[in-house]
Amino acid sequence: MSPLVFMSARNLARNRRRTLLAMGAVVVGLCALTVLRGFVNSVQQAQLNTTLLGTTGMLQIHRSGYLKNVLSNPLDLAFEDSPELRNKILSAAHVRALAPRLQFSGSISVNEPMASDLANVGDAKTTFLTANAVDPELDRQTLPQQYEWLIEGMMFPRADSLALVVHRDIAGPLGVENVAANLQQPSETWPVVLAPDRDGSLSGEAFNVIGLLGSAVPTDKRLALAPLKSVQKLLKMDDQITEYVVRLDDVVHAAEVQKELEQRLGSDFEVSRWDEILPFIKDLIGNLTNIFDIISGVFLLVVMLGIINSMFMNVLERVREIGTMMAIGVKQGSILSLFVVEGVFLGALGALVGLLLGAGIVQLMSLIGIPISAPGSSLKFILRPFLTLDFVVTAFSFTTFGAALVSVWPAWRASRLRPVEALSAI
C-alpha cells in the first residue's frame, strides 16, 4: 500500500494546475460551509440564550395544571414561596439559581386628572399589562440576559420597591419613557396599576416607571417587570408566587434535573423544560439545522462533481502510462487503488485547507462580532460565530469519504483499460 500512497501523491504533484483547481473547489466549498455553519451556530445560540437566560429559563416549576390553565386565571394556581421549597430545589444537582415569580395582569393608567379637572380627561392613558413580579436579586442571577435589554433607567433595587420596568414600546405611548424625569415625580403622579386580586376584587397601587426594556427578539411588548413583594401586597397574596424559574449549570442536564425535581416535589407541582413551554423555539432551531443540512448537501455534491471531473481528466491524460503499468505487470486492483487514493488525497487536503481557512474567518468574525437586529425588535444583537468539533470532524470525514467514493468510478474505468490499446493511445 505504501508505494501506492507515495505514487498517488507524486501523481498529484505532477499536474499541479489540475490538482490545485480540483482542490480549490473543495477548499472554497468547505470554507463557505464552515463560515455558514459558524454563523448558523451563533444565530441558534443567540435564540437559545434569549430563551434560557432571558425569558423562560431552563426549567419552570408551577402548581400542577398551571400551564394548561394559565389563560383563565393564573392566580388561582399560586403557591407559597417557602425556604423549605427553595432548598428542595436548590439542593438538586446542577441547579445553579432559582427565581420566584408571580405572573399577573392588569391595567396601567397615567395622567389621571388631578382635581376637578374633567376637561383634561383626554390626556389620561390606559393600557393592558402582563407583568412578572420578581425579586430583583434572584431574577438577575437566574435570567441575566434580561438585564442586557434594560436600555434606560434601572431595575428596581428591592422586591418591595414601588417601581416598574416596562417595555419601551408601551412606555412611549403612555408618555412615561423619560425615566430620569420620572424619578423626580412625586408619588401622587405615578402611574396606577389596577389588577383584580386573587378573589377578583379590584385593587390598585401607584408605581413609578424607572426602567425601560428593549428586546433583541420580538417579545410581548406588554410584558413588564414588577417588584415581587409590592405585587404580593397589591394582590393580597403575601408569600404567594405562580412559578419558580430555575437555571442549571448547563441546559443539557434539563431532562435529568426535571425528573429529579418532579420526584422531590411530588404531584402537587409540575416541572417543565424550556422546550416544553416554548416548543416553537426548539422547532425554530431544529428547522435552521435542517435547512443548513440541505445546503451542506448541495455544497458537497458540487464539490464531489468537481472531483469526479478532475479524476476522469486524470485518467484520460494518463492512458499510455496506465497501459505501461499494466504491461509491466501492475494488477488491475492496484491501478484502481492508485486513483482512489489520489481522490482521497484531493478530498482530504482540500477539506483540511478549507476548514482551516473557514475556521480562521469564523474566528475573525467572532472577534469583530456581527451586529444584527431581528424584525420587530429594538435592540441589536451581536452575533459571535463559533464552530463545534463535531462539525469539523463530520465535514472532514464526509468530504474525504465522498471523494474516495466518487473516485471509484474513474478509477474503475482506468483499471479496465486493455494494455495494448492503452499503449497505442496518443
Binding site: 391595567s107 382635581a115 379637572d117 380627561v121 396606577v192 377578583g200
Partner: protein, 249 residues
C-alpha cells in the same frame, strides 16, 4: 279611464282604512322601541338611590359578597360606594358620560376603568352596572318569541364601544318586566345570560326585578347575583357629588 274613476274613491277609502287599521293596531301594540324604553326605565330609572348586594360565585365554588350603594342622576351621572368586604371597603366608582373611574382609598386617587372590564371580578361588566341605557346604545327589533306570554326583542349595537355586540331580551307581555337576557360578543358567541326574578315594588308605582342572576356562558361554573335591597326613585343629588374631587368624601 273615465269609467274607472268612479272606483278610485272607494279603493282609496279602503286602502286608507286598511292602513289606518294596521297603524292603529300597531300603536296599540307594543314596538321594540317602546319595550326598550320600558326596560331602561325599569332597570335604570332616571334618578335613584339604592343599596344592593352582589354575590360572585367563582369556578372553584367560592363566593364573595359585596355591599354597595348606587346613586344615579340623569343618564350621565352615576356613583357607587362599596361598603364591604374589607378588601374593597372605601372604594368608589364614578361615571360621568362615557368615562368611569374607580377611587382607591389606599391611593386617594381615581383611576379610569373600562366599560368592558369585569365589575369587581364578577360576571357583570362595568357597563352592565354603571350604564343601563340600551336605547342610546342599541337598535331594537321585535322577534318571534317561542313563549306565548313573552316578548322577545333583539338588540344590535349601534357602534363598537358598547360592551356587547347583540342582546336578546325576553319581557313579560303582562307587565313588560324583563325575564331573561342573553348577551353576545362580536363573533356571535353567547357570553352571558341573565335571569330576572323577585319582582317587587320598591317605591310607589315603581316595580322592578330585585334579583338579576348573571351567568357566565364561557365558564359555566361562574355566576354573579345582584340583589337590589332598597331603591328610592326620583331622588335629587347635587351635581357636585358627581365630580372627581368629591370622591373619597
Amino acid at each position: 279611464m273615465r269609467f274607472s274613476q268612479s272606483y278610485i274613491f272607494p279603493i282609496l277609502a279602503t286602502m286608507v282604512g286598511v292602513a289606518a287599521f294596521f297603524s292603529s293596531s300597531q300603536a296599540a301594540e307594543i314596538t321594540a322601541e317602546s319595550l326598550l324604553e320600558k326596560y331602561d326605565s325599569v332597570m335604570g330609572p332616571e334618578s335613584f338611590d339604592s343599596t344592593a348586594r352582589m354575590t360572585a360565585t367563582r369556578e372553584d365554588g367560592t363566593k364573595r359578597v359585596y355591599e354597595m350603594r348606587f346613586v344615579k342622576k340623569g343618564t350621565e351621572k352615576f356613583r357607587i360606594w362599596f361598603k364591604g368586604p374589607a378588601a374593597v371597603s372605601g372604594q368608589e366608582v364614578l361615571r360621568v358620560g362615557e368615562n368611569s373611574w374607580v377611587y382607591l382609598p389606599n391611593l386617594k386617587r381615581a383611576t379610569r376603568i373600562a366599560n368592558r372590564d369585569s365589575f369587581q371580578g364578577g360576571d357583570f361588566n362595568n357597563a352592565d352596572v354603571l350604564r343601563v341605557n340600551y336605547k342610546a346604545d342599541y337598535n331594537a327589533a321585535l322577534a318571534a318569541s317561542e313563549k306565548p306570554d313573552l316578548w322577545l326583542i333583539e338588540l344590535k349595537a349601534k357602534n363598537s364601544s358598547t360592551s356587547y355586540d347583540a342582546i336578546k331580551l325576553w319581557m313579560r307581555k303582562s307587565d313588560s318586566m324583563p325575564v331573561r337576557g342573553e348577551y353576545y360578543g362580536t363573533s356571535g358567541k353567547i357570553l352571558r345570560s341573565a335571569e330576572f326574578s323577585e319582582y317587587k315594588e320598591f317605591s310607589k308605582g315603581y316595580r322592578r326585578p330585585a334579583k338579576v342572576l348573571m351567568k357566565n356562558e364561557l365558564i359555566k361554573e361562574r355566576s354573579t347575583e345582584l340583589l337590589t335591597q332598597s331603591m328610592k326613585v326620583e331622588v335629587s343629588f347635587p351635581d357636585q357629588r358627581f365630580t372627581l374631587p368629591d370622591l373619597g368624601k
